[in-house]
Amino acid sequence: MSAHIDTVTHAAATPDAELPFAELGLKDDEYARIRDILGRRPTSCELAMYSVMWSEHCSYKSSRKHLRQFGEKVPPEAKDILLVGMGENAGVVDVGQGFAVTFKAESHNHPSYVEPYQGAATGVGGIVRDILTMGARPIGVMDSLRFGPADAHDTHRVLPGVVAGIGGYGNCLGLPNVGGEVGFDETYLGNPLVNALCVGVMRTDGIKLATAPGPGNKVILFGARTGGDGIGGASVLASATFEAEGERKRPAVQVGDPFAEKVLIECCLEIFAEDLVAGIQDLGAAGLSCATSELASAGTGGMRVVLDTVPLRDPTLAPEEILMSESQERMCAVVEPAKVQRFMEICGKWDVTATVIGEVTDTGRLEIFWRDELVVDVPPRTVAHEGPVYDRPIARPADLDALNADDANALPRPSSGEELRATLLRLVGSSNLADKSWITDQYDRYVLGGTALAMPDDAGVLRVDDATELGIALALDGNGRYTRLDPYAGAQLALAEAYRNVAAAGARPLAVTDCLNFGSPEDPEVMWQFTEAIRGIADGCLALGVPVTGGNVSFYNQTGSTPINPTPVVGVLGVIDDVARRRAIGFDLDGAVIYQLGETRAEFGGSEWAHVAHGHLGGRPPRVDLDAERALAKVLVTGATEALIGAAHDLSDGGLAQALVESCLRGGRGARISLPGGLDSFVALFSESSARAVVAVSPSNAAAFEKLAADQGVPLARIGVTGGDSLEVDGLFAVGVDELRATSSAVLSGLFD
């Protein structure tokens, strides 16, 4: 048998043997560099490890140069709240009272296109393990989803599977799904976006890191057995563009077992509570290759692993496959010898398979054995952290000037009351603005008993622990159309919207995570979009005083040579001292005064109206004004904290009209609106100017609230009063709440039931 094993000795003796590095996604110069590092050709096992770890998905080789901005443009607020910054599995933020929160979003776009249910399910599973790995109890999930047109044939294959997969996995883990977003656009037809976010809570002294200190400490693999699923997923799937290869790639998508993960979560939390691990890493993309090389390179520098001890689901797996397998629901811990017995007892209680597969050394080498032969002998840093870094060519898209010149403000507009009414109903009944409960009702939002706000409210709000009134708020937003028109502004608008949503819920925005979905980095125009978007987020976070704690880059989101609209999705975390003071969007009382906050300009570039009414994408996105966002947030948060505000809703897609419709539907009552003077009614209703919100305030609090807004310099207009059973605008038109509800709720159920 040993003749068939490509050992280190054999590799040194056969320098000219040809290896399929190109098939594994490595370029000629990358392969040459591996030979340089090792001073010989790699063994097949080493090649497997380098190929997955140096893939775009794992190494961030095209993005790393640009992501450094997040470390360079750090707002001063960061030093007060950031306990763990970028680079670990997820950032950790101090939210006060001894609690720390960790949160992160991650993409699972390509797997979800190939195999919607499992792709989306394992996307949830992966991000939950990232949060767990930090030592936190996961307490909630959210997701940002984008599909092709809602009535497109392939959307009917992809969407139901993705939604069922997110629900099937997340519901079975017992994590409330508290928000996110769903969008439809032609650009995502061949490349849907499935971005999942998880948030977890721990005590500030309970943080765990991915490191393997202490020679002699044991390396324990625990959780599910290793099988043949997801082999090569990282390099073959996530880093290659889709052609017509969907069928062929199906076996590379991992299969999830949420029950195994649920048990793993509880098992880990008991292990953490007894302080039994010196370091821990989950097994996600690149499986054991990633976990062993990352743990070793962050620790004392060496590790020795006996691959034969890895429990297998499929005993025929080759060592290269064991190293590359992306079987789900596995973790790798570094445990002091004296603590191994107790560690194993806890795994036994939860019936979790746990095996010592190796130990930490001080050799500076990652050595892996198979059938008593040395098959891997590498410096672990070269695998985990010293992958290639590319400085890809950048070029402003050639069509951008023409696109920006195609002004959406010049499109024909409705003007009569009847036309405005019809426009409003058309938007309410469009897939992007319609009621999403057909999707969100497939997710458990109540489990764990800490959900104080969930979709369709502006942000998800969770109590961090039963013993406190402290809460956190989360919002996840993106806008591919704005970003296509201006990636710098579009990324900032995504950030501003999530920031505004958190503030509207009554929480103080604190920190940011992002999930950057772009086309191929080998396309200079995509690279320009990417660098502009990063610059936008970094500058925006600096201006708003909210540090970036981590994130995820997803490239190669394109079909053929056509990239998706660049879609940075931004998640903002906020904190609320008394969770009972959170504010929902619904008009829940009659006779409340409705105010619009912020300034409205005629801004229709990339708007939902231009998209729905004209199928148009052109002009400029709304102007970004981060000082105005900051002032608005101050008014919203103070207004909630001091109980001046009854309901609050941010203005975004669809403008004031859509916000009013949603607040009427959520509260089950109408409103009488008189539009502010000096503006065309159409502009007042449908413009998407940023830094705006509507609030409902009881008459007794009106004076105090007006003073609050004036003190912060936030423009305020009294635009109406809540009550009745229809939304009436200025004598222009009226629509019954029942008609709004029927129009809004018929869309997705009509298409997908």
Partner: protein
Amino acid sequence: MTARIGVVTFPGSLDDRDALRAVRAVGAEPLALWHKDPSLHDVDAVVLPGGFSYGDYLRCGAIARFSPVMEAVIQAAKDGMPVLGICNGFQVLCEAHLLPGALTRNSHLHFRCKDQALRIENNATAWTSGYDVGARAVIPVKNGEGCFVADRQTLDMLEAEGRVVARYIEGSPNGSMRDIAGITNERGNVVGLMPHPEHAIDALTGPSADGVTFFTSVLKALVSA
């Protein structure tokens, strides 16, 4: 004087903490029971919580019914101890033949989470005595397999004996026969309920506080017994 109410944790239980919280909220003493432990530790009543017991890749509750703790629960239920099965717990009670019928895949084939209006039909059970018959309660339902089915004879018997505890009103979330949301055994000590009263004990974190009466009812029954 209070009562000790146990909440079983199977490895895939999800709403066990919520049930323990609800027990604590009404002033009873909560006790977590472990699925591998055949002892009920002198509890006065038991809640089987929501979740996915052992993953439920087979029929929901089919494996849980054979767990060590269930042997004790089955015996105690037969001896008259109040037992409430919520969602997955209801499925386990049916698999254990403590309640008739079965819970099958929702008629629309999707998991559904919804603030559901119920009508309380029977206030003679250990768990519903605090409600008025005909009371409306809004309590979350969240399940993929909550469609109650039984043969016609069983359904007629349940109706005739007043053993339908709660019914869905204002629209069924899952297609249950005769809109049945919950039933009880002949003695009225064992109740199975698809909706989750433990998620409706505080309007801050649920749609209402309408569910708290399930827990105050059993506490009153136990303390006055």
